[in-house]
Amino acid sequence: MMKADGLLAVLDRWGRAALPGAALLFFVLLTLAPLRAPFLSNALPLLPALVVFQFSLATPERLPGPLLLAMGILLDLLLGGPGAPVGVSALGFVLIRAAVVANRRYLVGVPFLFQWFGFCLLALGFVILVWGFTALWTWTAIDPVPALIQYVVVVVIYPLIAPWLARVRARDPLNVPEPSRGTARPGETTS
């Protein structure tokens, strides 16, 4: 059935499969980059969540749960903060992916504005989750304003970054016939 592929084709397939994970790793490391651009550097810690959201829309099968878990834990370890919970970002990533996959019907094949709105909601959930757990774990009242500033910045720059990461399938009727589903596997959309 399957044709013996050329080297290029193999590389292409591997590259495609590895792209979401590599992009996520890149943005996890970029979180630490000592960039001093006003506002943009505020949003750096939330960019991995943006990557998770965008690739969950486009190709969730290339962003498996265990990978998200590992990346989230890596992010928490690197970002540090004495006493801060290690694994809260992992929890957030996993939940973002699950929420996107469960709501593909409202997020994929719809106008961009809907995706943006979806991101606004999920990112807010993510920020609240991280803030809540960090406050709980360190048992201190953490000022929520910096976290909210992060949130606002990342929501504003979402339209600038998201289209570069992955193109989500264009607008089409919700009842697409099987052959025109593109790369989406049957069973990927949960009903």
Partner: protein, 298 residues
Amino acid sequence: MAIRDDFEVAAGQVRAAVQRFALGLLVIAAFGAMLVGKADTVLVEHARVVALDLASPVLEAIARPVAVANRAIADLKEFASLREENARLREENARLLAWQTAARRLENENEGLRDLANFREGPEASFITARIVGDSVSAYVRGALLNVGRKVGVAPGQAVVTGEGLAGRIAEVGDNSSRVLFVTDVNSRLPVLIERTRERAILAGDNSARLRLTLLQSLAGVQRGDRIITSGDGGSFPVGIPVGEVVETGEGHVRVRPFADFSRLEFVRVVDYGVTGLVSSGHSTPSTPPGVAGQRVR
């Protein structure tokens, strides 16, 4: 044929069940990681250090282009106020030259008096210069990653200074990397002196740009413009490193602006004072009383 269909249906159901189960498992794993982190802080510290050492070469590779970008941004900002800046610097230079003369005179006098009094100096401090390769700045933490580690003699608790003043202290050390916790971090507690009155106090961070002066005997003596220096209490820091100046005094609270400009740090110096005081060497077990020597308070 029918058997095969049945099999496929069953396999599909199993797959669906595993998929549904997978989310639960992942959530449990994430919670597990958090609980383990809470229960076994030493393990987490160790994991942090390993992650830091692994990420450090990558960060170092991107530190240079990032520094160039930062400089470009800073240049753009400064361009607007070049003339005023120049005038200000000229004035400051004149003032500093006058101070230099005074300092030379005092140094000579001091030396003479020390000879007379047979004064013994404290341990000599040596410096390790480091490049900042990563920020660990988020809404919850203020710190940075350095490209030096245990191999060149960096140890937890050492002071980190810039040209202007104290930046923070070393919190975690890997083989070739380390993490600084800035004085502005919410976990930072620093024993300090008010230079004019010689009164002792604790300088606490709260993740904002201003520091809080706490545990002060009397607030009345503090004035705006008072310089704050390290007191060396706890033994891990040298005495007299400038930290900041008082910018705001109100009822019950004193605000201090740190001298170090955290928005444009590129290189820092780690002060190796010979003694690391209360910070235990080797394993950095957090078993110190709260509020001592700018150490972490849990």
